[in-house]
């Protein structure tokens, strides 16, 4: 892949004595939806966190738009995450004290937008994700499916180049899971965002253009228990 937006090359990362990544490499093209597949403990979430600049690998490099990401200071990586990346996690990605509209407006407010236009844009995204009716509710007052759609709206509202989604349907039933994936992938494709999707569910991976399978922290080897 010559026009990769994001690349990880031969990443190694250990937590104490436990290797989480032991030679993981991946490339993400602009606008591509990529699934990271693998059993529990295979390192797929750790790889996603390295790609997103949340974790630094012990060995190997991560490049975003051609420049090293893993070399940047914590502050610069945080700023990059706010400006260029969006995130959807399995649990707890919404701020419990804020309403849905304020949760979605949060990335815009952190980027310096004023409150009224930020909330207005947030409401547009809640409508696109078919959860406008919970705009003034807090996360504790929503169903799991509604909460994940609000989280998707928050991930996409700033027009990120890459959305990182870690088991975004893991806590949902199949119907709500499909709804969330339809909306996440559909909206990302409309605005040209790439999506890096961690999942152990094949039906979720089927939304992706391509999959990379991890096993025992490696993306290119089969090591079986």
């Amino acid at each position: 892949m010559t026009d990769a937006l994001l690349t990880a090359t031969d990443l190694h990362l250990s937590f104490g004595a436990s290797p989480a990544l032991a030679g993981a490499s991946v490339e993400v093209a602009p606008g591509e939806v990529l699934a990271l597949l693998g059993p529990s403990g295979s390192g797929k979430s750790t790889l996603l966190h390295c790609l997103a600049g949340i974790l630094r690998p012990d060995v190997g490099e991560v490049r975003y738009r051609g420049s090293r990401l893993d070399d940047l200071s914590d502050e610069r990586r945080s700023a990059l995450r706010r400006s260029d990346f969006g995130f959807v996690f399995q649990f707890g990605s919404l701020v419990p004290e804020l309403s849905a509209v304020d949760n979605v407006a949060l990335p815009l407010r952190l980027a310096g937008d004023r409150r009224t236009p930020a909330r207005s844009r947030a409401r547009e995204w809640l409508e696109r994700l078919e959860v406008a009716d919970v705009a003034d509710k807090r996360p504790g007052e929503m169903s799991g499916g509604q909460g994940q759609r609000v989280a998707v709206a928050r991930a996409l509202v700033g027009g990120p180049r890459v959305v990182f989604a870690d088991e975004p349907t893991g806590a949902l039933d199949s119907f709500n899971g499909e709804l969330v994936m339809d909306l996440l992938v559909g909206a990302a494709r409309v605005q040209g965002s790439s999506v890096v999707l961690v999942t152990h569910e094949s039906r979720v991976a089927a939304y992706a253009d391509r999959e990379v399978v991890l096993r025992d922290g490696r993306s290119d080897a089969r090591v079986h228990a």
């Binding site: 991976a205 089927a206 999959e211 228990a225």
Partner: protein, 173 residues
């Protein structure tokens, strides 16, 4: 399920005569549908005619005459092709895939590669089914979902097996 390739795979693991071959097949793969003896001997005849097996020995061993067959180089080549070719995802995939995994382990081939090729094949089909759901009526969506859920079940079995290949290899060796 390709009974022919499964029998050929069993002969590759070790030379066998017809009765031994039927017993090995029924024990490992035919609990629900044991082979008829006539099918085993007819298949052996075709495999010999096509050059995939050859007579290795004949003898009586205190019972009726028995002809023992061994795989030929041409038979090994045919098996290589069978192992490397993923199955077209369908309703009765699992028995053939199961046979491939077991025989790959027994013959020293890379069973993980068999599973990886199958996963890629399944996901290709699932992506096409997923894409076909765009903009069609609900009854068509539900029909596509039916296929997707069945393929998903195949893949869950496949991942379950992939995580246990070493143990499976020990148990069947």
């Amino acid at each position: 399920m390709s009974v022919t390739h499964t029998l050929l795979g069993l002969i590759e693991v070790q030379p066998r005569h017809g009765y031994d071959l039927k017993r090995a097949y029924d024990t490992r793969f035919g609990q629900d549908r044991p082979l008829k003896a006539g099918q085993v001997y007819a298949t052996l005849g075709r495999l010999e005619r096509d050059g995939f097996v050859a007579v290795a020995a004949t003898g009586r061993e205190g019972g009726p005459d028995r002809t023992t067959y061994a795989v030929t180089a041409q038979g090994v080549t045919d098996l290589d092709r069978w192992f490397s070719q993923p199955e077209g995802p369908g309703a009765y995939l699992q028995p053939e895939l199961f046979a491939k995994v077991v025989l790959a382990l027994q013959s020293g081939r890379d069973a993980g590669a068999v599973l990886d090729a199958q996963r890629a094949e399944h996901l290709t089909t699932m992506r096409a089914l997923q894409a076909a759901k765009d903009g069609v009526d609900l009854d068509r969506v539900l029909s596509l979902d039916f296929a997707l859920f069945h393929l998903d079940a195949d893949l869950r079995w496949l991942e379950h097996t992939a995580a246990r290949l070493s143990r499976l290899a020990r148990e069947i060796s």
